[in-house]
């Protein structure tokens, strides 16, 4: 009886709560008026129920069973109804009930979804919904996380006034302290954000924002679709309903006519931050509900470490990168030298960590730690801190490394005991290095012709390194990730890097990987899910969901039934040639990468529809001019593009869906928490910071959040309730919050108001030990990372590395077992000159400049490029004749030989295409090397005279599409040969750009 009474009381209370919410919030009131309908809640046997009449923005309810409701929620019995309708429900039970049909959703999916979300929203609107802090100047201060740091967003009259990196309040948790060599170091008490965070307001209000759904004027799904006109024809505005109808119909037509696999969803990585609206979250859920061919990503930032280095020491779960726990303190206390080898943290910020680590490098310098920079470019890190610069020729790093090892062996400057007891295969490696194998000793003189580095410098470096405790810094965070591993010889490079460290006693005090970006002593056991843990995706296969998130945040599983994938770097071939073959990025073991994938996969349809999501492909893949023909191919019947800006791929779509930025919708996240493959990536930060990512302003124009766009499309398939689980984005934020350890520190309401929480650092006595120290000391592994997996130990669980021998292997067994099939990835890491470089003489005679194409300093991939503030950065683009040209950094000698002056327009070209850039002439490069960033958001082809040139700065059209080695799926943009000449048609071009 009591249950019965509770059931009726709850049902009766609903209209009261909704009414209260409507009187509190004009927005809610408006939402309430959206639909006139009848909604029924009842028991399955019709023994009890109440229905709700929504009419003209009001709701009334009546006891009983309505004969013809628009939608209904039907419980199997009273007991279940009671648990489900409790004001603080057990989410695990709710999910259990849904999965087991203890509750059923009947009738209109659209109405059911609408009512469920309305009721959820009424719960917090009814008690007065407040978020953000009111400031004295009348602004409301809200909170957001970007790729370059968390920020306070000051809003007045629905307009963002300013975006300010968070300054911690006195009552926020304190920072950590490191004592080293008589000094005490404490981090800055504010977020040190990346440049692209500081200019993000310009990106939000960019004139390139897509503000309305659009359709290509000559795309007619009932008649001529005109795929050949993609990128040429203009667009007309359509309503959201028209857009959703068009897409919904097309998806169902694809399913019926072509079958599973015909819809393909390629996407970019990381343009926005947050656990709900992320590509591994909402998008992944959408992909699974639509049923689509997925894009198989290559490990694009880790290439050489994944395909190469991991075979020597393991860490496949970290994509082949070393760990860096505890290394900041160890480096400051013990190290005497840091060798930055293709590592420019001042530009690349460890990916998401902004400029948090800049001050730590200054501390190291102040302690007298010597810096060495091995990079074709005198990069900003070298510029800021100085030190010895070795301007190496691109793609030749392995030759230098091998020569260093040669000196160490010849002069007895390596850790013989470590090598003897903790490694295998050294004798065979030494035989190669010393020339016993092939008669060529790999001396400093041997490498000079390859690298351009004088033999004497190599000897000096090898001696200093052999005598000083040295940290080796590779890539953005110091432990791999970006840089030389993204060239043709990236695997040789990364393999050499770990061998160098093994020869010097990797893990001993002062001897490790790092550039002072990682290894900060934070509390890593406090749980909050990272983006790779799948958010709301429900996908246990293609995200890291299964490890924690699926248990911590009960939600319904979503499964992709289409097994077909297309390897990311070969999507154009898949379309143009109808087939593509490559290898998987699969991190569970070293062996997984040898498994080939083929497109098309037997049984599935080739792709016929593309649903494109996120930023530009043109500036994030190699030889990307291929995409123009692919997009225009007649086999592709429909292209939908969902993105924020009218740039890149958007211009090749049939239907354009305008997504808003994350400043215009709700989300929740932790700064720099990648999770999964990027476990504990917060270790680069001074403080762990969690934020409720407020909806700072309403979406601009007609744009919508990605989540709401997916919801709209899925509503046409009757799947909106399956997608939302009755939740808005804010409801999901609350579910993520509840799944984490945050509720033990801050209440939901406080979090809503303040917007962020700073976690106290780990207690000094509980700090994480130093990476590899356990191995150097022959102990059980003592780091908080759950790998190698239990089956991957050569000895007792917890002892040894993830290799067949359990030791560091100079000659990797996992490569030896497979080298018959992959002769260009031999077990002995022999130096092989680049397949596109000075030794490819026919090509080199035509294109004698080696171009490195690195990550941009002022944008995050393409995000926040192509905005007024970023365009105007003098170190990013140059304004010439009405157009902002991409910079190409070139040496004074090479410029002089070509009669090129600083900021002249130049043509950068090879057989793949031509890009018009502005020359940035300086002595910060050696002759023969040039540097330009990838990631221009602009892709603008123009024809001048008879020649087609690209003027947006999309250097990716020049980079090779060849995989680094046979049997891998790896890109090599840092091994591009080009020629440069002063642009002869600058005047004709100015007629185009000035127009």
């Amino acid at each position: 009886m009591l249950k019965n009474a509770m059931f009726y009381a709850t049902l009766k209370a609903l209209p009261v709560m909704i009414g209260r919410a409507a009187s509190n919030s004009a927005e809610f009131k408006e939402e309430l008026a959206r639909n006139d309908c009848v909604y029924q809640i009842k028991l399955k046997d019709n023994s009890a129920g109440r229905y709700y009449l929504f009419q003209n923005g009001t709701v009334k309810s009546k006891r009983g069973i309505h004969p013809n409701p628009d939608a209904a929620m039907v419980f199997k019995n009273l007991d279940i109804a009671g648990k489900m309708l409790s004001p603080s429900p057990d989410m695990l039970y709710r999910i259990h009930a849904a999965k087991n049909f203890l509750v059923e959703l009947q009738g209109s999916d659209k109405i059911g979804n609408w009512v469920a979300k309305l009721v959820q929203r009424a719960q917090y609107e009814a008690t007065g919904f407040r978020y953000g802090e009111e400031m004295p100047d009348g602004c409301k201060r809200t909170t957001m996380i970007t790729n370059g740091g968390p920020v306070h967003v000051y809003v007045r009259d629905e307009k963002i006034v300013r975006v300010v990196p968070i300054k911690y309040a006195p009552d926020d948790a304190p920072g950590w302290t490191i004592k080293a060599r008589g000094k005490t170091f404490e981090p800055t008490r504010r977020v040190m954000a990346a440049p692209h965070t500081l200019s993000v307001k310009s990106a939000i209000y960019s004139e390139n924002r897509l503000l309305h759904p659009m359709k290509r004027v000559d795309y007619d799904p009932e008649g001529e679709r005109n795929p050949q006109n993609r990128g040429i024809s203009g667009y007309e505005r359509i309503s959201w309903d028209e857009a959703f109808d068009l897409i919904g119909k097309e998806i169902l037509r694809q399913r019926r006519e072509h079958g599973p696999g015909s819809i393909f969803v390629p996407h970019s990585s990381h343009h926005l931050w947050g656990n709900v609206g992320y590509y591994l979250s909402a998008l992944q859920r959408f992909i699974n509900l639509v049923g689509a061919t997925r894009m198989a990503m290559n490990p694009d930032s880790w290439e050489g470490w994944y395909w190469g280095a991991q075979h020597h020491f393991g860490n496949s779960m970290k994509v082949g990168m070393p760990s860096s726990y505890g290394t900041l303190e160890d480096c400051l206390k013990e190290a005497e030298q840091v060798v930055f080898w293709s590592s420019d943290p001042e530009s690349t910020n460890g990916a998401y960590a902004g400029l948090e680590s800049t001050e730590r490098r200054q501390w190291a310098k102040d302690l007298g730690i010597k810096f060495v920079h091995i990079d074709p470019h005198y990069n900003p890190t070298a510029q800021l801190f100085g030190g010895k610069w070795l301007p190496i020729k691109p793609t030749t790093d392995a030759a230098l490394a091998i020569a260093i090892m040669n000196v160490w062996i010849a002069e007895d400057l390596y850790d013989k005991e470590y090598v003897a007891t903790l490694t295998t295969g050294f004798d065979e490696w030494r035989a190669y290095v010393m020339g016993e194998e092939d008669g060529v000793p790999k001396t400093p003189e041997w490498q000079e012709a390859e690298t351009g580095i004088p033999a004497r410098d190599v000897r000096a470096l090898a001696r200093a390194w052999g005598k000083k405790k040295t940290y080796l810094a590779c890539g953005a965070g110091g432990v791999g990730f970006g840089g030389a591993n993204r060239g043709s010889n990236g695997q040789q490079f990364a393999r050499c890097m770990v061998m160098l460290m093994a020869m010097q006693g990797w893990g001993k005090p002062g001897i490790n990987f790092g550039n002072l970006t990682g290894g900060v002593p934070l509390d890593f056991q406090f749980y909050f899910p990272g983006y790779a843990e799948g958010g709301i995706s429900g996908d246990l296969v293609n995200t890291g969901n299964a490890a924690h998130n699926y248990q911590k945040m009960p939600h319904v599983i979503s499964m992709g039934v289409v097994k077909q994938v297309i390897p990311k770097q070969f999507i154009p071939e898949a379309i143009l040639e109808g087939k593509a073959e490559s290898y998987l990025w699969e991190s569970t073991s070293q062996e997984a990468q040898f498994v080939p994938v083929q497109y098309p996969m037997p049984g599935y349809s080739p792709i016929r529809m593309i649903y494109r999501y996120g930023g530009s492909t043109f500036s994030t893949t190699s030889k990307s001019g291929r995409w123009v023909d692919a997009y225009r191919h007649e086999s592709i019947e429909c292209i939908v593009n969902q993105s924020i800006y009218m740039e890149g791929d958007a211009k090749f779509a049939d239907i354009i869906l305008p997504a808003c930025t994350n400043f215009e919708r709700w989300d929740i996240g932790e700064w720099s928490n990648a999770g999964g493959y990027g476990l504990h990536a917060q270790e680069m930060l001074n403080h762990r910071v969690f934020a409720l990512q407020h909806k700072c302003i309403e979406p601009l124009g007609e744009s919508k959040s990605d989540y709401q766009i997916f919801e709209g499309v899925l509503e046409r398939l009757g799947l909106s309730q399956v997608f939302t689980e009755g939740c808005s984005e804010l409801d999901w934020c609350k579910r993520v919050f509840d799944s984490s350890d945050l509720p033990s520190k801050i209440s939901w309401n406080q979090f809503l108001k303040k917007g962020y929480y700073v976690l106290a650092p780990e207690k000094e006595e509980l700090r994480t030990p130093v990476a590899m120290r356990w191995y150097a000391e022959g102990r059980r592994k003592d780091l908080p990372e759950p790998f190698p997996l239990p089956s991957q130990f050569a000895d007792q669980y917890g002892y040894g590395l993830q290799t067949p021998s359990g030791k560091f292997e100079f000659i990797p067994t996992t490569l030896r077992r497979n080298e018959h099939a992959h002769p260009d990835r031999p077990a002995v890491n022999r130096y092989t000159p680049s397949w596109e470089g000075p030794r490819t003489t026919t090509l080199y005679d035509k294109y004698p400049l080696q171009m490195i194409c690195t990550h941009s300093r002022y944008s995050f991939h393409t995000h926040v490029d192509n905005t007024a503030a970023t365009d105007q950065i003098s170190d990013h683009r140059a304004f010439i004749n009405g157009h902002y040209y991409w910079l190409m950094r070139i040496s004074e000698e090479d410029a002089r030989a070509r009669d090129i002056a600083d900021r002249d327009l130049i043509k950068v070209y090879n057989d793949r295409g031509s890009v018009i850039c502005a020359a940035d002439v300086s002595s910060m490069l050696s002759p023969g090397s040039v540097k330009g960033y990838q990631s221009s958001a602009k892709f603008q082809l123009v024809t001048i005279g008879n020649e087609q040139v690209e003027i947006g700065g999309c250097l990716n059209i020049l980079t090779p599409d060849q995989t680094q080695t046979v049997g891998t799926h790896s890109m090599a943009p840092n091994s591009t040969l080009v020629q440069i000449e002063k642009y002869a048609h600058a005047e004709e071009l100015s007629n185009v750009t000035a127009a």
Binding site: M192, R456, A464, D875, S926
Partner: protein, 289 residues
């Protein structure tokens, strides 16, 4: 840096920019756009146009030749001069606040291109859309609202930009003890923006690499002592590093001929004569015999 505790009413704002640590100076440009483009700060400034020239500008200076180079950045903005040419022509459109900040009235300055033109540093930008001259106001609207320092200070690491509110006497002490300089002191405009390590822009170095032979193997010579002589007078002495590199810095451009004399007890001696032109000079490898 924290401000001194002095509550002296004569305290005025000054900016101190370290040229050697300004690799991230662009961040100051970006936050100025964030703060001023499209934003009206009532009683202080009108919105700056997206297309206007920038309130902050960054210049780059690369000295030397590969591989012995250094690179510095010079951040320029309104100098808030105490003897400002803009104020002389500006009349009541240009006012100097008691705290040293120069303000251009967005109403009274309408049409006054002459105010922008009067600035010898080119630091006042002309807003074509609104027809007014505009300067960086030191974020006066924020300081008055209680912000401790201007925004540019907080976004550039390593205290590359420091804002201090101290008396002119206190500032003068810092100028002397830290060797601070202003841009174009000869104009006697009395800027309130000071620079540390300005030699990285203004002056030159002479660099070289010392090598020696061990049998037929060429090695870098570490620990050699090198003297820089001019007309027989010893100017500076330095020691070569592990790569045999050495640098004599803070030399005036186009300052004539110099002689380098390098000595090492095992490798012997090397001498080189050179003429320093407008730019720094890297002499390449010098063989000790």
């Amino acid at each position: 840096m924290s401000q001194p505790p002095s509550s002296d009413a004569r305290r005025k704002w000054n900016l101190i920019i370290d040229v050697a640590k300004s690799t991230h100076a662009t961040n100051a440009v970006l936050v100025a756009k964030d703060e001023y483009v499209g934003n009206e700060h009532k009683g202080y400034s009108a919105p700056v146009s997206e297309d206007s020239a920038e309130l902050f500008k960054v210049e780059r200076k690369v000295r030397g030749a590969s591989p012995v180079v250094d690179t510095a950045y010079l951040l320029k903005t309104c100098n808030h001069c105490d003897n400002a040419p803009c104020k002389k022509v500006g009349g009541d459109a240009v006012t100097k606040r008691d705290d040293g900040i120069m303000m251009i009235d967005p109403v009274k300055s309408k049409g006054r291109k002459d105010i922008a033109k009067a600035c010898p540093f080119g630091a006042i930008v002309w807003n074509e859309e609104l027809q007014i001259p505009q300067n960086w106001t030191f974020d006066a609207h924020l300081l008055d609202a209680g912000w401790p320092v201007p925004r540019c200070v907080e976004v550039t690491p390593l205290n590359a930009i420091e804002a201090v509110k101290i008396t002119d006497a206190e500032m003068q002490k810092r100028v002397e003890s830290e060797g601070l300089e202003v841009l174009r002191p000869e104009l006697r405009t009395k800027p309130r923006v000071y620079y540390k390590n300005l030699y990285r822009f203004r002056q030159c170095f002479i660099g070289a690499t010392l090598i020696g032979m061990d049998g037929d193997v060429e090695n870098c010579v570490e620990g050699a002592s090198i003297d820089l002589m001019k007309e027989g007078v010893l100017l500076q002495s330095v020691t070569s590093d592990a790569y045999g590199e050495l640098k004599f810095d803070r030399l005036e451009p186009s300052s004539g001929t110099y002689e380098l004399i390098a000595r090492h007890e095992d490798y012997g001696e090397a001498r080189a004569d050179c003429e320093l032109g407008a730019e720094s000079l890297y002499l390449g490898a010098l063989l000790l015999t």
